[in-house]
Amino acid sequence: MSTSTRTKRVKKVRASSAEDPAMAKSPVSKFFGRLALAIVVIITLFPIYWMVRTAFSDNRAMFGEPLSLLPVDFTLGPIERVLGLATPDEAIAEGGSGASINFGLYMLNSIITATLITVFQIAFSAMAAYAFALLKWKGRDAVFNLFLIALMVPVIFTILPNFVLIKELGLLNTIIGIALPAMFMTPFAIFFLRQFFFGVNLSIIEAAVIDGASQWRIFSRIAVPLVWPQIITLALLQFIFYWNDYLWPLLVGTTEESKLITVGLGIFRSQTPAGNPDWAGLMAGALLAAIPIFVLILIFGKQIVGSIQSSGVK
């Protein structure tokens, strides 16, 4: 591929299918490609539709018509239960539970926690990935492999000691206590960013070194902008991951002030041994909790595809 080694300036190109050479041109390929996409979209959407249908069904009547494609006895009750607008008695009467839920506060807690984790984790992981990919030092790969092993550490090893540590730090039932273990790094993020830093055109960095730029400046002004779309992708995926995290926040954040939305929605799952979930409330909760992240994807998603570095990364 040495024909394409012209050094280009880093610039942003607005992508559109007409001028985007990565897009297929042949009409036959286009037809089959889009057909395949359509099939994937349908298989993906059907169960989601089923959740929507269930979220608007009456929990008590639902299994009277288990195969109905439309909501059974259309009701906003489940949504009200999720938003905490129903009294415990109403909730129980509708097949929900008598526990209260403070939807707005839990959502806010989740937003703060997931943002906190994502911002710090990605910043620190990017620094580490830079050291593992673009700096040369003895023992680099060995240390990286050691970090990589963290990916394989089973949860049962970490959960109790980390809980005790957070307790010793006096951070139980605080948002910082929930976020702390994930804020410094994850082997996943380091590994991911390292692979992209490998692709950075070294001549650009070379030139910066000759110009006398510090490593911090090269990292923050050259390397990070070059992999920005990938950082955004990673940030979105990590945000979603921590948004959905359950066990750890369940143990650490038990007060109203520190309860995350996933934990709050736990009251819609089966409360007694071998009981039934509040199906409608559970689905309504899952969908409502997913809305903020979906919006986030639509906003930041543009950055994943919208700004494409022409050939800074090759």
Binding site: M1, S2, S4, T5, S16, S17, D20, P21, A22, S26, S29, K30, G33, A36, L37, V40, V41, T44, L45, P47, F63, L67, S125, M127, A128, A131, L135, K136, V143, N145, A150, L151, M152, V153, P154, I156, F157, L160, P161, L165, F184, M185, Q195, F198, Q215, W216, F219, T233, L234, I240, N244, Y246, T262, P277, F294, G301, K302, V305, I308, K314
Partner: protein, 295 residues
Amino acid sequence: MAAKVSRDNQIVPAMLFLIPASIGFLAFFLWPTIRGIYLSFTDYNLLRDPTFIGFQNYIDIFNDAVFWRSMAVTFQYVFINVGLQTVIALALAVLMHRFTRSMIIRGVVVLPYLIANVIVALVWFWLADYSLGLINAVIDGIGLNKIGFFGSEAWAMPTIAFVNVWRHVGYTALLLFAGLQAIPRDVYEAAEVDGAGEFRVFRSVTLPLLRPILAFVLVVTVVGSFQIFDTIAVTTGGGPVDATRAINFYIFERAFERFDFGYASALAVILMILLATIALIQNRLLRANESDMER
């Protein structure tokens, strides 16, 4: 072109860059792991002080038929899950890369990942129910025999694997898509000038240039799917007859239901060693530490 970064040893800036990540690594990963390895040599029920018993847990595991069966079903799961997921995700990423720029499609594809996996498992548990599930209603409608997706030994693990493919395929596709975007556009221009067909473009342009990311994705998904837990916990609970008692589920059962934390730790150590071995082999085979993109 062979421009090389200065050969100077950059250990000082490297260490500075690694400070924050190292704090997290030492406090939240390395220390708990060392402690866990120690506990694997003890008899420990969580509520009393551990007593050192040497290799006894490991010897017991070697003679534990449930352990060997759980390894077998775990491998079955990983094989189906990773195989299916990687192929579909790769196809999907290429489709998104070559055939559409629609943000909506990208959003839709990742939708299942937005739903917590416990909920996803419950939704499919319902859709695949023998009597009340839509899938069996369709199967019955076209005149075939209904299938006990979660309840029969033959189907349970493949069903669980499929459910997780459904949830993670869009996620994996986005990771691969990020890799595709790092491929310079001019190589596609060149391929087009050469008149290469869709499959040829994929084989000789896309795939080789994607290799570092593909390697990353494979390592991460293999390691991740060995740790399958939630879907099993909310659906089959390890049954029927051990058919879905994957190793990580067995570890949890031993640790928190049977209060045999020492034994569970030994199982966890074995799993860790196995995963580390697999990951290092994968890394080597896939040459993940270098890029085909010339530097």
